[in-house]
């Protein structure tokens, strides 16, 4: 590979200007065909198994479907009902709260871990495995242990806080502190997962650039902001998008830790969708909540795409 050094000035394979126009149409056709040939094996599975059901979901969001009977077309009625639905508003606010706090914390923690563990140290393999452990450990066990640690009266966390004269909150038994408790546990659980993605990304940063920066007398922080971060941009973008979507769709940890309670203090959108669909049998209405969740995610994602494009250029 090391022989493939290319002179930037000579763009190889590109025909001279007059020829270009005539061949451009067939070139477009050719690259379209080649492009689709790459995408098709995945796309067939994706379209049949995911895209079609998702489009059906959009259709169902405008019906009063209850799974068994016919799906009667109701137009935008479900969405109008959402405007009045206070439980939906509560779920939406809770989900936003979770996402806004959870995303930056997880991003920071996982990038920090990846930088820390991207070294040639003895035992690094062990520490990487440990960092990934929370993600592979059963979510039920995680919920049990953390609930116990955070138990207001008998839990060690509040006992330790007590040593410093801090009267610990009720955590998962308090409607104010239940969401912070869930965020805390979810950052702890997911940081190893996103660390893995960052670790892969860090392998794209050319070591020569570090050497050059060091020779220029750049400090560790400058090397991080001027070399690591720019080279890591595609990965950071990927992680941010996935993390955002995953945060808006959060479900399993909430279910096992608080089941939405106390009261509705940790009710999130995905849980609301499940309740409306499978518990209350209003699948049409549940679909419309899913569509709203989709629209929020897609809006944030497009925004992130645009920011990413601008930074690239």
């Amino acid at each position: 590979m090391s022989t493939l050094v290319v002179d930037d000035d000579r763009r190889a394979g590109e025909p001279p200007a007059p020829l270009r126009r005539r061949r451009s149409l067939s070139l477009t056709l050719r690259s379209t065909l080649v492009g689709w040939s790459f995408i098709l094996p995945n796309f067939i599975g994706f379209a049949v198994l995911t895209l079609v059901p998702v489009v059906i979901l959009f259709y169902m969001s405008m019906t009063s479907w209850n799974v068994f009977g016919a799906a009667n077309w109701v137009g935008l009625d479900n969405f109008e009902r959402l405007l009045q639905d206070r439980s939906f508003h509560k779920a939406l606010t809770n989900t936003l709260y979770y996402a806004v706090v959870h995303i930056p914390l997880t991003l920071g923690a996982s990038l920090g871990l990846a930088l820390l563990l991207n070294r040639k140290l003895k035992g690094v393999a062990f520490f990487r495995t440990v960092a990934f452990f929370p993600y592979i450990t059963s979510v039920v066990a995680i919920a049990v242990v953390w609930n116990m640690l955070l138990s207001p009266d008998t839990g060690p966390v509040n006992q330790i806080l007590g040593w410093f004269g801090i009267d610990g909150p009720g955590w998962t038994t308090s409607s104010t502190w239940a969401m912070p408790a869930i965020i805390l546990v979810s950052v702890w659980r997911e940081m190893g997962y996103y660390m893995l993605l960052f670790l892969a990304g860090l392998q794209t940063v050319p070591t020569q650039l570090y050497e050059a920066a060091r020779l220029d007398g750049a400090s560790a922080w400058q090397r991080f902001t001027n070399v690591t971060l720019p080279c890591l941009r595609p990965t950071t973008f990927f992680v941010t998008v996935m993390l955002t979507i995953a945060s808006f769709k959060v479900l399993d940890l909430v279910l096992v830790m608080t089941n939405g309670g106390p009261g509705q203090s940790t009710l999130v959108l995905s849980q609301y969708i499940f309740n409306k669909g499978f518990v209350e049998n209003q699948f049409g209405y549940a679909s419309s909540v899913a569509v709203v969740l989709f629209l929020i995610c897609i809006a944030v994602t497009i925004f992130q795409f645009l920011v990413n494009k601008r930074r690239e250029s």
Binding site: V52, I56, V67, F68, G69, A71, S151, T173, L267, N281
Partner: protein
């Protein structure tokens, strides 16, 4: 891409239309068909077959009497039974006969036309069969009850004696119960034991089920939940007095009622009759400690229904069997025969032998049940098991599931101390109005 888009939409629309058209009335039931030689194979839904023997027990007992009918069990998950069943019914892959786990989902199945009319089977059942009215909609019956648990009060005789408190005598109101819980807690503390007077599990049923069943005029559908108030105030008082573990500790420490009562952490436990079999089994294999226990009727709201000369009011949903309308026409008779057997004396005897409370509680069935090894045989326990007016926990209404969700939020909010009872009730009433009136 541009040219493909309309095609994708057209294809999707076509599929969507097929879906809506054939919704669940699709008739290809999985596998089994009736053979020409009079042999019939029925499929029956059950959950966690390894640890829940009731389905196999009934099936075997039935096949012993009807050798030409084979009953195949199809296994479902215990906690996600209705989710899986909904998917299977929607796709037309559900078994011939399926269990109605509780009444919350019965309305969904019945109104979604996923249950065959089995009025002829229900009408022929013994009049004493509990819970059969719950499955009747507009004069027609859509399932038969084969087991009918009821909530009773378990108590630990050893701990009561240690604390020097008189054992339950069947005449208790909830206030008597609360006083006893406090007295036992104090008495046990004096005797150097850390055990508490009572344990109440985290479910909303432990408070709301009794309140709904016992309060005159209480109506879930009315959206007026003020009948819950005295019940919650009593529980909050018991939590504050330290006579029972608070809800926050139950959830954060994932406590189980089996361990709390079985390892003598609590002297009393309001719980369903299903726990009798578990406790017997755990005492036999050593998971539960060895102690003397008994069951008493559930405490009552006032003295009018208390005492062994009255019929105590309690609650629990029946568990029923219904027939999938997608069943092969030739198998309907055999399926109905199976239902009649399961809800009748034959099924009841088979279930009683494995410690399950059948819907039909005849004297013969009671004798079988109290012949189980290790079961308390005092008169009060027998009375509590056999005599009660058991109301359904989930009245069959279109809004039941929604209202129960709202009330569950109320339950956790109030018992965790996040809101006062009055504020919680106001909030629940407001939500019921906006979410359950369409």
């Amino acid at each position: 891409m541009k040219r493909r888009t309309p095609m994708v939409i057209a294809a999707t629309a076509a599929i969507a239309l097929t879906l809506t058209a054939c919704g669940g009335s699709d008739g290809d039931t999985a596998g089994s068909t009736s053979g020409g030689d009079g042999k019939v194979t029925l499929s029956l839904a059950g959950w966690s077959l390894a640890s829940t023997p009731e389905f196999k027990t009934i099936a075997d007992a039935f096949t012993a009497q009807n050798p030409n009918v084979t009953v195949e069990l199809k296994e479902y998950d215990a906690t996600n039974y209705d989710t899986q069943m909904t998917a299977d019914l929607a796709a037309g892959t559900a078994p011939d006969i399926f269990v109605q786990k509780n009444l919350k989902m019965f309305y969904t199945y019945q109104s979604g036309q996923q249950l065959l009319d089995v009025s002829d089977v229900t009408n022929a059942l013994d009049a004493a069969t509990g819970g059969k009215d719950a499955y009747t909609v507009d004069g027609k019956s859509y399932a038969v009850p084969y087991r009918q648990d009821s909530w009773v009060l378990y108590y630990n005789k050893d701990l009561f004696n240690k604390a020097g408190v008189a054992l339950p005598d069947g005449s208790w109101t909830w206030d008597d119960y609360a006083n006893a819980a406090k007295a036992v807690t104090t008495g046990l503390k004096g005797a150097g034991s850390k055990a508490l007077g009572t344990y109440q599990h985290s479910w909303q049923s432990t408070v709301q089920g009794f309140a709904l069943a016992q309060t005159a005029g209480a109506d879930l559908a009315s959206g007026d939940f003020s009948y819950l108030k005295p019940y919650y105030e009593r529980v909050l008082d018991l939590q504050d007095a330290g006579a029972q573990v608070p809800l926050g500790t139950v959830t954060t420490n994932s406590l189980t009622y089996q361990a709390q009562f079985g390892t003598q952490q609590a002297a009393m436990l309001p719980m369903g009759s299903w726990y009798i079999a578990t406790l017997l089994q755990q005492q036999a294999n050593g998971e539960a400690e060895d102690f003397e226990w008994g069951i008493a009727p559930a405490p009552q709201l006032d003295a009018s229904t208390a005492g062994t000369s009255a019929t105590p009011v309690t609650f629990a949903d029946p568990t029923g069997l219904g027939i999938n309308p997608g069943i092969d026409k030739g198998k309907v008779d055999a399926a109905k025969k199976f239902l009649a057997f399961a809800a009748g004396e034959g099924g009841a005897q088979a279930l009683a032998k494995i410690g399950i409370t059948p819907a039909l509680l005849s004297d013969a069935v009671t004798d079988t049940y109290f012949g189980l090894e290790g079961i308390p045989t005092d008169d009060l326990s027998k009375f509590a098991w056999q005599t009660h007016d058991t109301r359904p926990e989930n009245p069959v209404l279109p809004t039941t599931a929604i209202l129960q969700n709202i009330l569950n939020d109320f339950h956790t909010a109030v018992l965790s101390g996040s809101v006062s009872v009055d504020d919680g009730l106001a909030e629940a009433a407001a939500r019921a109005k906006s979410e359950a009136s369409f």
